[in-house]
């Protein structure tokens, strides 16, 4: 066995597949050894990947793209060979703001009322996200803009780590936040605020975390990478099975990460949270280049890619590498889709994706303003 794969993750419910793979011996079954590193910040994950102190990480896709483009520090090519999770984030408003905005309604109606409330404030209210280059930030901005609020003028978006954001909101330092599971439910458990909507109500079946690996490491360790992908595919399937949700919640809670067990359980399959995580079916694992393009398109929209050459942007899309996953996915008996056949994902209902050998029954993947 070669050097253990150093894989980084944060204390979040969507780290589950890595923990499950370690706990059930799936990495060993696939012939690899893994050393898990629980990091305190996304910046640590990014810096350690860049300087070779980590080989792989459960990562925010926009942050992986930002590293590849050199938007934060040195340029460091990362590859995205696999998706890890879909959905699972919550937009939470503090109790006061939620009372002012009111009502259980759809994403657009709630957003319009929030925009009206924000316009009426003397100062733009502060909303927290986990990192500037996060899915959370881009989805929150998309939603605000779709509801008539300018995310750069009508609100102030700040970065606050999830474990501090609930307290910050309770103290009135932020009006609300968008963060991954279990933090929405934690805020409700502590009576600090209310989940106004789930991220799937902004973009149904949206990609959330991905696996990112250092390009140089992947080139030097093709077989180890295959073992890693295989173990994580199997672990994703375990995490999706409702029967395993209790055991997965134990790992996220008392046994390993020390998160709120009940709040994690609520976000797993069969749980009672408003927003759920999905780890495998129907094609969570597929690294869609269309997703990379969407993230880059949104980063362009907010002026973050000013000064980046178009060819560099195209190269960043190519950092998504379905070709690395394909042999592993096929040998695990998964139907392999052809992205070229469905470049657009804006289906309001279930749809069928042509794949080999059989088709994949996909779920709705429309946006809130479609």
């Amino acid at each position: 066995m070669s050097q253990p794969v150093r894989i980084g993750l944060l204390r979040l419910a969507d780290s589950a597949p890595v923990l499950v793979a370690a706990n059930r011996g799936l990495f060993e079954d696939c012939g690899i050894a893994v050393q898990i590193s629980v990091e305190p910040s996304w910046a640590n994950i990014a810096d350690k990947l860049i300087y070779g102190l980590l080989d792989a990480a459960v990562m925010l896709p926009p942050l992986a793209l930002a590293c590849t483009l050199g938007l934060r520090g040195v340029r460091a090519p990362l590859l995205v060979p696999m998706g890890i999770s879909e959905g699972g984030n919550s937009v939470v408003l503090s109790s006061d703001v939620a009372a002012a905005v009111g009502g259980e309604t759809g994403a657009i109606a709630t957003g319009r009322r929030f925009a009206a409330w924000a316009h009426a404030q003397p100062e733009p209210p502060r909303l927290a996200v986990v990192h500037v280059f996060s899915t959370h930030n881009l989805l929150l901005r998309y939603w605000l803009a779709a509801c008539g609020a300018d995310p750069d003028r009508d609100v102030r978006i700040v970065s606050v780590p999830p474990e501090l954001v609930v307290t910050a909101m309770a103290e009135g330092a932020v009006a609300g936040f968008c963060a991954g599971a279990p933090w929405g439910t934690v805020a409700e458990e502590q009576g600090a605020g209310r989940v106004a909507l789930g991220s799937s109500e902004i973009w149904a079946s949206h990609p959330e975390k991905c696996l990112a690996v250092r390009a140089a490491w992947a080139a030097d360790n093709p077989l180890v990478l295959q073992g890693l992908l295989r173990a994580l595919l199997r672990a994703g399937r375990v995490c999706d099975g409702g029967a395993q949700a209790e055991a997965v919640a134990d790992l996220l809670g008392p046994e390993f990460l020390g998160l709120s067990r009940t709040a994690c359980r609520a976000a797993l399959p069969g749980g009672d949270a408003r927003e759920h995580l999905c780890f495998h079916a129907p094609a969570v694992w597929f690294p869609w280049r269309g997703h990379a393009s969407w993230f880059l398109g949104q980063m362009t929209r907010w002026g973050w890619l000013d000064g980046i050459a178009e060819q560099d942007e195209r190269a960043a899309v190519q950092s998504y590498r379905p070709d690395l996953l394909e042999p592993v996915a096929r040998s695990e008996g998964l139907n392999w889709p052809d992205e070229a056949r469905h470049p657009q994902r804006r289906h309001r209902g279930a749809w069928i994706w042509e794949a080999d050998p059989g088709p994949i029954n996909m779920r709705a993947d429309a946006f809130c303003d479609d």
Partner: protein, 191 residues
């Protein structure tokens, strides 16, 4: 030049402040415990920020140029493009530094080098402490396992030790591990 130190470890922070106080032309402030990094940067308006990488709020600096209208000078991580080993040493010691762009970038290397040395020494001391603690815990466990054998199997102390050693050799494991299993099986793992 104004340096803000964001380190909640009081002993380490004081030691680093003392080292940096000797550098001419340097003024220093320290982040208050419980204060968010982004807020402290807005209040102190430093030219350089030295950050303990164990802080979860370090993410706030990645986006600071986009989020603080009150202090719109961008903050960029100090990166030594020519010397990746230097950066690796800093990150593995657990410390990094940021420059506030818009002021001429000072030579950060001597300052960061001092921080790296301190953080590394601190980490080694902690690792050593942990090893000492582990060793003490292990010895306690072996003592309790011996007492158990003496009490319940009526062995003499040398016999009890030999019993543990024989088991360890037969299974290719360490004596403390055998002791832990024995205590665990008898429900006496806790002191």
């Amino acid at each position: 030049m104004h340096v803000l130190l964001a380190d909640d470890d009081a002993v380490r922070a004081v030691a680093l402040m003392r080292v940096l106080a000797a550098v001419p032309g340097l003024t220093l402030s320290r982040l208050q415990s419980g204060q968010l990094l982004a807020d402290a940067v807005a209040v102190h308006a430093p030219d350089v920020v030295i950050v303990d990488m164990a802080r979860p709020d370090r993410d706030a600096l990645d986006g600071v140029r986009r989020v603080t209208e009150a202090n719109p000078r961008p903050i960029v991580m100090f990166v030594d493009q020519d010397d990746p080993d230097f950066m690796e040493a800093a990150i593995s010691a657990g410390v990094c530094s940021y420059n506030v762009a818009g002021v001429p970038p000072p030579d950060m290397r001597p300052i960061l080098r001092a921080a790296i040395a301190l953080f590394r020494r601190h980490k080694e001391a902690q690792d050593e402490l942990r090893t000492v603690q582990n060793r003490l815990e292990e010895r306690g466990m072996v003592d309790r396992a011996k007492a158990l054998l003496i009490r319940e199997r009526r062995m003499t102390e040398p016999d009890a030790y030999r019993w543990l050693r024989r088991r360890a050799m037969a299974s290719g494991r360490r004596i403390p591990e055998i002791a832990r299993d024995l205590l665990h099986d008898s429900g006496k793992a806790q002191p």
